[in-house]
Amino acid sequence: MSARPALEVLRLSRTYRSGRGVRAASFQVARGEIVALVGPNGAGKTTLLEAVCGLADYLGSVRVEGFDREQEAAQRARMACLPEDRDFPPFLAGSTVARLAERFWEQPGLEHRFVSEAERWGLGAAELETPVFALSQGMREKLALALVFSRTVPLYVLDEPEAHLDPIMRDRLESRLEGLRSEGSALLLATHDVHLATRVADSILAITRGEVADLGRVGVAEVLRALDSGS
């Protein structure tokens, strides 16, 4: 395992005119570690993840495997992001979306890995040839997960990956996250599921009103208490 953290965030700030946003967030995610980001609605989870993924401007520093935003291409090549907005064009099928991903993510062979990953999420050949608009919300979610997990990268940044999944798929997600950790990947996930967070995460970050606090490895009660006192 590399001594350098897969993700290093230092005094990251991104605020909106309303005053909301993230203020001076600092934390690290090491290889082989899952860090969960929990917080109430509007606390700044998505804002923080968008900054980490390079989808929004910010103050401070984000380093992925030592690469900062001046080396954007190297950063993006080392992380897989599942942003909050994961709508796909309604008239494209999953297989075409995967072809786009293979081409623009510069990941040769991704399409083949995607097919086997999709099977893991219960998407067969028929579903992959179906236009996105004909898929249920849950199926679209699985499509997004299959795509992002088709990449093999040191860091995964996932915004509410459990959203719209049924209980069986949530269980499968948990196994997948743990599997990636055991393979040595680093994972940062924002979630509203405190139970999931406390089960899989090695460390929990609580975010309230843009302030990030490292709770370490704690139980559900402590997380809820931290969120309650901060909000």
């Binding site: 992001c81 994961r86 075409t96 991903a101 179906t130 608009f133 795509l147």
Partner: protein
């Protein structure tokens, strides 16, 4: 035929132009107050004044030329180019400031419905410009053209697509409202040119013509015969039918995707993913694009039919296809957020997506190569579009976003115009 005095005519027009001037003044004032694009607004204001003035001066001269007689006959042919000119500049003016209108609607204290009406009127006048040649042809006793029917069906389609912002339960009502406006004005113009001013009773005329074949001649062949002999009635019936079909087929945008499911399945098999993405965007905007395409094609056909311009067939096709694609080409191409977030080289993405657009555009033109008279110039243009993809790097960096589309449209028009000349 009734005649009205020049004084009455001018008084009515003066009042009308006064109202319109006040209306635009209000809009510009609101834009200057609220729009973040103030310099653009000022520029568009200057442009609108520049455009209005010579046409207004020309209009006054036309009217004064007619004033040499005791009475003024509004059916005089001179009215038509005058009306066209006024409509055209109004639409241009509305188009120029349409860029910022949504900011006004969003931030102005003036009720949205009031401000939105201006846009609706602008759109409606575009539709009227398209319908004009047919109405004129019908009034002059020209044979009824199938293209006229196409055009008049397209009007409410396009209007309703543009006014669709109402959404939800209001959508069907907006459809009917826009249709009613379109048909009423088409009638108005026809009656105006044919029989003089009929503002007082044109509704009665409409109802009579519409209901006569339905109630007095229930026998179907006779009904059809009467309908065919009365183009106005055909237009109304077909228009209403088209509206009903549109409303029930499209409904909310989320439902209209079902209509095109088979296309989505076909796209899934297309190995050229960037072109498939462009085609998917085309489908997403098909309701607006298709109605614009029909209108553009119908207008070009009308121009040919009534001798307003000798347009080569390939150019007619190109205008229709370009209008179909315009809702896509006016925006910068982009990957879905979930894909864009993981793409290491956004610049390469932009270039390849523009390249995909070129290939998809060329693909949509290929079926028209079989069109009699259009084949050779159109084939040249398809090859040129295909070659243009190799300049996608240059296209991708052009600003504003709609400029590449405009250049492609202009280049295609030039190629097909000169290529189609005898």
């Amino acid at each position: 035929m009734r005649a009205t005095t020049i004084g009455t005519f001018l008084r009515r027009r003066t009042r009308w132009f006064g109202v319109m001037a006040a209306w635009h003044g209000l809009l510009f004032r609101e834009e200057l107050r609220h729009s973040p694009y103030r310099s653009f607004t000022l520029l568009s204001l200057a442009g609108a004044v520049f455009l209005y003035f010579p046409f207004a001066a020309w209009g006054v001269r036309e009217v004064l030329a007619l004033a040499g007689e005791e009475g003024f006959d509004p059916a005089d042919v001179s009215v038509l180019p005058l009306a066209y000119a006024v409509f055209l500049v109004w639409v241009l003016g509305a188009g120029l400031k349409g860029r910022t209108l949504w900011w006004v609607i969003r931030s102005s204290p003036v009720p949205r419905a009031v401000l939105g009406l201006d846009r609706a009127l602008g759109v409606f006048l575009v539709a009227l410009i398209v319908a004009g040649p047919y109405v004129w042809g019908a009034v002059q006793g020209a044979d009824f053209q199938p293209a006229a029917l196409l055009s008049l069906i397209a009007l409410p389609l396009w209007l309703s697509a543009r006014l669709r912002g109402a959404g939800g339960l209001w959508y069907p009502f907006m459809l009917l409202l826009s249709a009613a406006m379109g048909w009423s004005m088409a009638f108005l113009v026809a009656k105006y040119l044919d029989q003089g001013l009929v503002f007082e009773d044109y509704n009665y005329e409409m109802a009579r013509q519409l209901l006569r074949p339905v109630f007095a001649r229930l026998h179907l062949p006779e009904f059809l015969l009467v309908a065919l002999r009365a183009p106005a009635a055909v237009h109304v019936l077909v228009g209403l039918g088209a509206l009903w079909g549109l409303a029930s087929t499209l409904g909310e945008r989320s439902d209209d995707t079902n209509v095109f499911g088979f296309v989505g399945t076909w796209l899934a098999r297309w190995r050229d993913a960037p072109a498939a993405l462009a085609m998917s965007s085309l489908l997403r905007h098909l309701d607006v694009g298709l109605s614009q395409a029909v209108m553009a094609g119908a207008f070009a056909l009308a121009a040919r039919t009534y001798g307003l311009a000798a347009l080569p067939p390939g150019l007619v096709v190109w205008w229709a296809v370009a209008a179909l694609w315009w809702p896509v080409w006016k925006e910068r191409p982009a990957l879905p957020a979930a894909l864009a977030a993981n793409a290491p080289d956004p610049r390469r993405v932009a270039v390849e997506l523009v390249s995909g657009r070129h290939r998809a555009l060329a693909a949509t033109l290929v079926p028209f190569l079989l069109l009699p008279g259009a084949g050779a110039p159109l084939a040249v243009w398809v090859v040129l579009i295909w070659l243009l993809q190799y300049g996608s790097g240059w296209f991708a960096q052009l600003d504003p976003a709609w400029l590449p589309g405009l250049l492609v449209f202009a280049l295609g028009s030039a190629v097909l115009w000169f290529g189609g000349l005898p």
